[in-house]
């Protein structure tokens, strides 16, 4: 039957297979209601396509490591050389700027009225030129000075509908500063909050 282009009644085999494959085998046309050739073809193709439909409906278990692997690869691709810097007698202590931004973002997410908050450090615009300028320095991180003991953080915040935006933004700022101080030891912190969406 699958070698023929048309059934005995003249109907196109491809059209009948399409009807079955799209899950419309039960929706008979007027012709098909009275046509034994079409009905036999519909039954046969339905049997053949059953394993396809079953496989398509089967959930595909996704390897757990994909997200982490992607994040790790992206982390390597981002030439983020910006750190906080504490010079101690035993050596330098550095915390990556993106980690500081993450701490701030996570703290901001806990403020009432916040749907989602993301943090980033604000070095991006000057990172390229600064890196180029200090490419030959032996101690690039220290030479740039980077954030030193100062952090300037941008927070993008989506707020739930019905909340006072300025009040939410102030609370976001307060929580972010407190969390960064508590978790990184930084004291001189500026947090810029942008409410960029309202979510119902």
């Amino acid at each position: 039957m699958t070698d023929l282009d048309h059934l005995a009644c003249g109907c196109d085999v491809n059209e009948v297979i399409e009807q079955v494959a799209d899950g419309r085998a039960g929706q008979l046309t007027e012709h098909q209601r009275d046509c034994p050739a079409c009905q036999a073809a519909l039954q046969e193709f339905s049997r053949l396509w059953e394993p396809v439909r079953r496989l398509a409906a089967e959930p595909v278990p996704v390897p757990a490591g994909i997200k982490a692997a992607v994040a790790s690869q992206i982390g390597k691709l981002v030439s983020d050389v910006w750190y906080t810097l504490h010079l101690a007698e035993a050596g330098a202590l550095r915390i990556a700027a993106r980690v500081v931004a993450k701490v701030a973002g996570d703290a901001a997410s806990t403020a009432p009225g916040v749907t989602v908050a993301f943090g980033r450090s604000t070095h991006r615009k000057i990172a390229g030129p600064a890196e180029k300028a200090t490419l030959r320095h032996d101690y690039r991180h220290a030479a740039i000075g980077v954030l030193g003991s100062t952090a300037v953080i941008d927070l993008a915040v989506a707020v739930k509908y019905g909340h006072r935006l300025d009040a939410v933004a102030r609370e976001v700022q307060r929580r972010a500063i407190a969390a960064v101080r508590a978790k990184t030891g930084l004291q001189d912190i500026t947090v810029n909050v942008t409410v960029d969406d309202i979510v119902a």
């Binding site: 491809n14 595909v60 994909i66 989506a158």
Partner: protein, 180 residues
């Protein structure tokens, strides 16, 4: 809740340098990338590689993403192209333990074995299809996308997609008939 915000919001934030926004997009769409790669390539190892490559490529190209299409459509495009590249490089794909334990909807172990055999036959039949037919079958019949969306993803036309589907379905049906 982060699940309340739409992809477009996350895409904009990711474009502005908020890496956590892209992590959320990866979380939402990693399943799609892996699932399509698996159906197109026929083995877990290549599918995992291609899904990861596609998600990293999407991140790298994010600055140029103009949001004319949805993020998922765009990701479908990237995954499909990556998978096609791999198919053209390797030419032969050998399905490796592709089918998990088929849920026991039948009465006994014999029926389950038959279902598993049938599922493996489907996987082999799909991976034996020419690439364009394979893509059309996977996107339309496995991902449930309409022909117009498949055409957008493959950079083709609706009549061309229909033609690939007709021929792919015909071959698939014939192979399954021989298997039985």
């Amino acid at each position: 809740m982060i699940s309340d915000v739409e992809d477009t919001y996350l895409v904009q934030r990711a474009q502005e340098g908020y890496q956590d926004a892209y992590a959320e997009l990866t979380d939402r769409h990693g399943r799609l990338a892996y699932r399509v790669a698996l159906r197109l390539l026929g083995n877990h190892h290549d599918a995992e590689d291609v899904a990861q490559e596609a998600l990293i490529t999407a991140w790298q190209r994010l600055p140029g993403f103009s949001a004319k299409s949805s993020f998922s459509t765009w990701l479908y495009q990237i995954v499909t192209r990556r998978a096609l590249n791999r198919i053209s490089r390797t030419r032969t794909t050998e399905p490796l333990d592709l089918v998990g334990d088929v849920p026991d909807q039948a009465s006994g172990p014999g029926d389950t074995a038959v279902q598993r055999g049938a599922a493996e036959a489907v996987v082999r039949a799909i991976t034996a299809l020419p690439p364009q037919q394979r893509v059309a079958i996977v996107l339309h019949h496995f991902e449930g996308l309409p022909n117009a969306e498949v055409a957008r993803i493959t950079g083709s036309t609706v009549p061309a997609v229909r033609s690939h589907l007709f021929r792919g379905r015909r071959k698939l049906t014939k192979t399954l008939q021989e298997w039985r």
